[in-house]
Symmetry: D2
Amino acid sequence: MAVVMTVEELERFFLAEFPQVFHSKSGLVIEAVWERGCRVRQAFRQVSVRPGGTISGPAMMALADFAMYVAVLAAIGLVPLAVTINLNINFLRRPAPRDLVAEARLLKLGKRLATGEITIWSLGETEPVAHATSTYSIPPGKLGGIIEP
Amino acid sequence: MAVVMTVEELERFFLAEFPQVFHSKSGLVIEAVWERGCRVRQAFRQVSVRPGGTISGPAMMALADFAMYVAVLAAIGLVPLAVTINLNINFLRRPAPRDLVAEARLLKLGKRLATGEITIWSLGETEPVAHATSTYSIPPGKLGGIIEP
Amino acid sequence: MAVVMTVEELERFFLAEFPQVFHSKSGLVIEAVWERGCRVRQAFRQVSVRPGGTISGPAMMALADFAMYVAVLAAIGLVPLAVTINLNINFLRRPAPRDLVAEARLLKLGKRLATGEITIWSLGETEPVAHATSTYSIPPGKLGGIIEP
Amino acid sequence: MAVVMTVEELERFFLAEFPQVFHSKSGLVIEAVWERGCRVRQAFRQVSVRPGGTISGPAMMALADFAMYVAVLAAIGLVPLAVTINLNINFLRRPAPRDLVAEARLLKLGKRLATGEITIWSLGETEPVAHATSTYSIPPGKLGGIIEP
């Protein structure tokens, strides 16, 4: 099994289909995709700061969800209607007020369900700030990707 | 056990401590608090719309996290350093492009940990769009609330 | 939507298909089923006791999983191949060395997925000892039940 | 940080404190412990078989919980009162009717909470059958291990 979409194709898809999430000022970057995984990055944003100089939980949840979706799309092609059915996140350490990096890894890629784990770090750190698992539902007949952006 | 903070006190706290989350244009409203529970509301926002006219998963996760935090504060008083350690969410139905209403209910309120469940509906619907459980860690010595906004 | 299986039909099914789980010495009882929910009971068993006189976590997980499966079967009929895809459990209080009672409630009953929540109490207590959520995958074409025990 | 308990010390502890779980016929083996991780094994047992020749979900949940507890004890010493507060498990593939192997890895080892992930395989397979995350609560003052079996 190989990657079926490149970083450039993924970025074009997100710019076209998810302009509220992925735009020139969102600070979201798809850094790399590989077989059953990816690395994405969220630039530090003042809007996500919380008391004590840390980054909000919802900002990390959104990044985990984005990383998982990128890993699914990179593996199966463009499926805008794939939807998250479950996300479980453990917050491990207070993130520093810096960029966050997330890596997603698919644990299972079935016909109807894809499950993966996502680890998030503050840029430059080795101990993770959060760890999530997530399951996506894949609509019937969409495997392989049939929507062109 | 009774509520130790009113809706007005909670709103003042959020306006002062979490201005990035809770402000005049955020569309977030604390509708009611009661013993070990609360109801909050997120006005519909264009930024949360996704393909097909639904509302994004991260918008629902953020609302679940907010509802849980309000329920914790209403029960134990102002603890800005209480932090989410776990959130698990199941997405059940595609929400309509309308306001979301969330109710949180504490299942346990211990000295160190508070666990609750949160149900989210599209305004006016009876079947939930999402259901979450979450655990907060309460810093030692903070029970009862010692920070005044 | 109504219940499609009675307690007696469910018990016959479990005795026939899951004799390792549900037998005369298992201490498991299906107490009641209703629209989208059920109540089951696990008699106290010495094998589940842990240091301090409490009941093991895995015994509560097994009971949560059983309650969810009963609620699914009561709603859709006999589907032996329905399988758990996710279970998340929060342990809230140490159970007393007594019977456990669990109630399951379906939050969603779709064609492919059923999601529910399960609350577990020590018999006679009002505060729960554990709370779980779980999702079952329903094999295509099985809705309504086509397997007769 | 290094391992503070050997496999032999762990086995003696479980034989003494958890005789219902870990005994000569339980089929449970602690294969190895290392810094912040361990590998355990559950021999195939007829009692865990389910329709279709697979292994029950609760058997996998129990193994995940055991693996996590071993990893915690190996890292912090004997803490019988450490308790699971959360376990989330995703079932990925039907296990074969064979031994199960589980590896646990601590993602965080704090003073009050330890969080880890656990992966389970059918013996000899490379694709996991289940993946779990779990959080343990560590009683105050126990870090380092003060209870001798």
